[in-house]
Symmetry: C2
Subunit: 302 residues, 2 copies
């Protein structure tokens, strides 16, 4: 599991900082999460192949999380894309994108599939045999979801040494991987534990931005390996957090602590502060395992 | 008259090249012409004060000329703008911008005034005592206008030396600037030419992008000081020009020659070519005074 931060600053794109967008590489997927203005340039800069992106998740329809999407949709066409593109986001996203295409007398030569979200409860929005994605309802000035990405438990892996020693034929391998014991020709039963290793522990990632402090998301994200939680403000501006429905670094850390997450990544910093290190300092007062997102940073959790 | 190129490349924003946007400084105005994705970052980079922009002219609603506008409109709000903003562009532009604001449960705390264009004939769309702006109907895959910016003839300037020598009082100065002769107390008539200098020759700038080769714009732009004309292709791809309704460097030069313009600036280059110098070489076969636009380049025509 690998996370590339394309942008993690609040409000507007600037010369050196980009609005929210990130790519989660998980089980061979490249999931694009949010798409602020300039995302397609950031994708190029960080050499992420456009063709590997088939699913885009948009948390909410504020410009700093969404205004890069119309251009990206157009660029996919110019690059000759023909694979389906799935876009998950709040109701209205389809109307907006289709209106912009229509005004340009334009189209996509690939299928755009919109999955519009309206529920105030968490729902499963994507699933295959290796990974699932669910929404995390957040509290912002406009309808907003975070997203929970979970790997599924992989099959057990063969212990080639013992399997070979017992002379077990390949036709039994799938059963063994599925957890079955094996009865040898001489009648002995070999326990599955002897023939396999435990699969790697499935990993999970929760993206929570933008949101006011919202402890009722804790059960949804409990025990995730990595939580990205917005931290727009420091304590000195803590009065602005509830007003603008954002969080402070300390509030993000409190959520991380309550949810017993493995790592907390902070982002969505207001650009008013001299150093983002201050966010880590304040979060560390509550929670130990704090990392700072920054544009271009890659977190490898494999 | 000063022109700052924020972006002048075709199709998509890239790491080192930006889609179309430029700022024309003329008679104390800062007119923003087109607004591709990333324009607000380019404005910051080139230290153009956002508050000086009160008029935005959008040629057509393709993404590479327009997808930076929603973000810019939002940023003006975040910067606390309260002055009116006038946006000139094809019909539909108001619906698009207002839909995007509405989806973000957002608004502007300044007045947005849309001037939607539908005419296939040139029309005067802005005028004050110093400058006028008219449309130049172009031929592209979607309804498109270029824009013609013209300074008005300024009043004549006083020749302080002769005015002082004749002892003329200040209450007559406005009449003199307006071209009137003066009768002195001793009955002598002093010709205006002796009391004033010619005003500076008014300047003019024509922006023509995107468009197929369209010689019927020649009468509209005849004799302009500066013509920006798109040149997406070189002769080696001249078959693509009519198909995509773009121009070659040579066609742009031909328009410049037919219209007897002072200077031709080329732009809107396809990124397929190794060097933009090739565009100048091909245009120079037809027309001598060719300049190349490039992102960040400033042309001072004062």
């Amino acid at each position: 599991m690998k996370l590339t931060i394309l942008g993690c600053y609040a409000a507007t794109p600037r010369t050196m900082t980009n609005p929210t967008a990130q790519v989660l590489e998980i089980k061979n997927h490249m999931f694009l999460i949010d798409c602020g203005e300039g995302t397609q340039v950031q994708l190029r800069k960080h050499k992420i192949r456009f063709s590997r992106i088939n699913h885009i998740f948009i948390s909410h329809l504020h410009g700093d999380h969404f205004f890069g999407l119309p251009g990206l949709v157009s660029t996919f066409r110019l690059l000759g894309r023909d694979a389906e593109m799935h876009i998950y986001g709040p109701k209205g996203i389809e109307k907006a994108i289709l209106l912009l295409l229509k005004l340009g007398n334009s189209f996509t030569n690939y299928k755009l599939v919109f999955h519009e979200l309206t529920s105030k409860n968490s729902e499963l929005i994507y699933e295959d045999d290796k990974v699932s994605v669910s929404t995390i309802p957040l509290a912002h000035r406009v309808y907003t979801n975070g997203f929970l990405f979970k790997e599924k438990v992989a099959p057990r892996t063969l212990n080639i040494e013992t399997v070979t020693r017992y002379g077990i034929e390949t036709c039994f391998f799938q059963n063994i991987k599925n957890g079955k014991d094996i009865v040898l020709d001489d009648g002995r039963t070999i326990k599955n534990e002897e023939l396999t290793f435990d699969p790697p522990k499935p990993k999970s990632y929760a993206f929570c931005s933008d949101t006011a402090y919202k402890p009722d998301i804790v059960p949804l994200i409990f025990g995730v390996d990595v939580l990205y939680h917005e931290a727009t403000f420091l304590e000195s501006q803590s009065d602005l957090a509830p007003k603008t429905k954002h969080s402070t670094a300390k509030q993000a850390a409190l959520i991380a602590k309550l949810a017993s997450v493995g790592q907390l990544i902070l982002g969505h910093y207001s650009t008013r502060y001299a150093s983002i290190e201050l966010f880590k300092d304040e979060a560390n007062e509550v929670f130990d395992h704090v990392l700072l997102a920054d544009d271009g940073k890659v977190f490898d959790f494999s």
